[in-house]
Symmetry: C2
Subunit: 576 residues, 2 copies
Amino acid sequence: MTRLYDDPARFTEDMLSGFLDAYADYVVGVPGGVVRAAVPRAGKVGVVVGGGSGHYPAFCGVVGQGFSDGAVVGNVFTSPSAADAASVARAVDAGAGVLLTTGNYAGDVMNFNLAVDQLRAEGIDARYFAVTDDVASAPAAEITKRRGIAGDFTVFKTASAAAEAGYDLDGVERVAGLSNDRTRTLGVAFDGCTLPGEHEPLFTVPAGKMGLGLGIHGEPGVSEDAMPTASELAATLVDTLLAEIPVGAGSRVTAILNGLGRTKYEELFLLWGLVAQRLRDAGLEIVQPEVGELVTSLDMAGCSLTLMWLDEELERLWSAPADTPAYRKGSSATPTAAAQPRRGEGATDTPAHHSAVATLDAAALACGARVAGALDAMAARMAEMESELGHLDAIAGDGDHGRGMVRGTASAREAAITARDEGAGPGSVLTAAGESWAAKAGGTSGVLWGAGLVALGRRIGDDSAPGAESVVAGLRDGYQALTELGKAQPGDKTMLDSLLPFIDALDVAVKEGTHLWQAWDQAADRADEAALATAALRPKVGRARPLAERSVGTPDPGAISMAACLRAVGRALDDR
Amino acid sequence: MTRLYDDPARFTEDMLSGFLDAYADYVVGVPGGVVRAAVPRAGKVGVVVGGGSGHYPAFCGVVGQGFSDGAVVGNVFTSPSAADAASVARAVDAGAGVLLTTGNYAGDVMNFNLAVDQLRAEGIDARYFAVTDDVASAPAAEITKRRGIAGDFTVFKTASAAAEAGYDLDGVERVAGLSNDRTRTLGVAFDGCTLPGEHEPLFTVPAGKMGLGLGIHGEPGVSEDAMPTASELAATLVDTLLAEIPVGAGSRVTAILNGLGRTKYEELFLLWGLVAQRLRDAGLEIVQPEVGELVTSLDMAGCSLTLMWLDEELERLWSAPADTPAYRKGSSATPTAAAQPRRGEGATDTPAHHSAVATLDAAALACGARVAGALDAMAARMAEMESELGHLDAIAGDGDHGRGMVRGTASAREAAITARDEGAGPGSVLTAAGESWAAKAGGTSGVLWGAGLVALGRRIGDDSAPGAESVVAGLRDGYQALTELGKAQPGDKTMLDSLLPFIDALDVAVKEGTHLWQAWDQAADRADEAALATAALRPKVGRARPLAERSVGTPDPGAISMAACLRAVGRALDDR
């Protein structure tokens, strides 16, 4: 929802005032909107964009060199008045006329046409153009009834670049028409947005559903479907647009994958990878795409895909530099002397793991396989506990412990199984598992568990079957590695608080002659108790004070997961 | 929530793959992260930034000329591994060493320090620096325990600019330390974010509350307060930071007002206006501020204010050009020939209204005052109905009808009262009201109501008291103006559908000799019935087909508000 304001009735004025302050180098206010801070070049055609606010960067965010000369700024989701549109147009007129352009909405069409009448009566050559890119808003046979959504951006950009390049008003108007003819958009929404001062959203989409074709003001779409996977959504967006290839279109397109406000960059990039692949599979060449928030709808969840099929002229205009508050293309950053491109080196290489080089006897191989089995059991247990650990961690930390343990144990399992298959003994299996855990899981738990397993593996070695004392000594080595790296001590509310009682109990029981796996099971009981008892502790290392206070009363997720892993390992290895 | 993915376990890899595709001109992938597409300049110090993902543009969005050389990309909210950090650092090393820098989190500190050890063992001069800008995460006496949040951005930018400018590794490290010493951030959160694949948010903030000092992974803050107004929030943010002015600070600062993901640009600009004013009131000069999303937390609602106190060196480095996927400063856009700045012309001028020039008799003045009273009643009625009209409009439209009618009737009332006070008769009061409505409310209803009132006023004139026939004729003129402008006909599901039955009924009753206000009241009954009956209609003008279907069964909000206005006007004018 929209929360930040003093008086919702003054939301747009107050927003505009802050915008003008932040971008004083780019823009100044005029009655009805904003214009470039620099006076217009004599003889340049003016381009005025506009519509209601609530869509930033549309529309005031794209006023500047290479883009529009002015923006008319209406109230949230409301057309500006004819007087506002005429006022902004007058301010940018440099004697060569003005193109006023908006998305195709009844209010904008009426007000901007009235403004054009008024400007012409004053002797300013003014034209109006309405963008109609939204394929969901009317069938192809009624294309002039379609709404303008994120395709506003491609039309405004190319028409503005034409004006910057010195086209006359007829030429700028022609480019607007051409780029509109070549532009198609399909949008989807996952949840509504809330107008300033309202407590209920303007509209909602049921949980787990997607509104296909829903407009940027919540206008109903063509259907309500189950929430798709990213691949399914990419297919829907691409295939719908490719069913409407404009007349005369070639194989070069630009694309905008636009976020509506609450569907964030990471999600857009993920979706873009799938969209780009599908476009290329269809034989299209993608030129300078944009992935991000260009035409938003307050905090609405959703996104849209726009395609503009390029010809030589549109490609040149699309690629031209621009320098506006929200959109900058072309740079004066010092080029690197040796700015030669490097080849991609692949982002997803697998880190090297230790291969077992020596050939081991059957007992050592069997032991290695058992250790790999124990790591498999640990991974399975962490997958079960992911959500529980995440919630525990969220109370005082960043909530990533469950996901981190799943990532880590899964990586360890995979490396362990590969090592086993390559003939590794128990020590090498543990070393491979620890290295893979640290490398692939990251995070605090990753680096610590990794170091612990490597230390344990080093002590255990690849002898056929380590004795109970060797296991205990290996665990103490692992514990030592953890304390050196993590700088924590017992009582600091960390994984050490269940690991140390476990090792101590195991040590005593083994020395008393208890069978290793019986001793392990008893020690795991101690680890469980100790993990729960961390609820009474206050963390001391690497945590700021408010977190420390907050975590009191909650057991440490690292201590809990340590105890659970020790239990799972013991059960998997128990050969009694 | 985070919704777009195929497999949540592969979220980061898939995100990265789409990011690299979208910005292939800027970046290439290497194991563990991304680096600039251009090979590093020999002898340039490398700067590697990093941390978990989920914070875009942090951190991979700021790899490029003038900014970082590479970014290590961990899983969502999770430190990357030491192996990842070392891998990215190796890829950017150009013989002059590498500074690795992250926010101050235990996992990042451990992994990046391990990477530094490893790089040094390989003969690469590597250093690590942790940013500690979050004033809420530890008291000033324990400043090294503080987390790094949006202040990462100022530290990374200035250290990177130093490297670009040819500083050696000692110099780059010194700049990182200096800018960190000079940087302070306070963040607030209004609602949580949801990790990919999770169905519950990582944390929540109770409705109507604000978490003060809540971290970018949901780490608890210092207090939970009632949701403030924008002015109160600006005061809290500014005053808290100004209580911690760094040693040696002067009066020049830069600022980042950062959105966390769901607190959108319009809100940030509104807040910025208040923050900037308060900073200037405190005697500070603001240099090149940034307002937008620079360090996000998935779809978290909230924002943070960062201040960096500048000296000459930091100001130069902060102002240096940069060209990265998400952050570009300095432009090659063609400068305007006559690029002289224009003076601000004021964004909030009041449009001129018609003054009554002729001096009228007492009866005409009294009639003008009664009309102004009727417009006042209309505004009061629309204020009552705002929410109801908004919800009706949201079913098939963009939900702005209630807000638009409130804006419009309030503007009309204000202009009418001013005209009355200046001695206007009824016609001039109506004309002033209509012009103000159209100019200030915008939207479809604004332009139509404005034109209707102006036409009515023209017919009524400023004679002392118009007769009933003149009122009916004026309403018919208004109706005519609406149909010409709006291109709608009765039955198209618009305001005409209650206005026309009203006029017809009024006309008949007046002709039958019924007292005007009795006739008006009866006609208002007809208007109410007709407005409700629009539920059965399908809109025909300016609406796309899905909207038409969707609106069937719901009365038209324009017809409803028209009937309500007619009723309110009749009651206010009734002098029986």
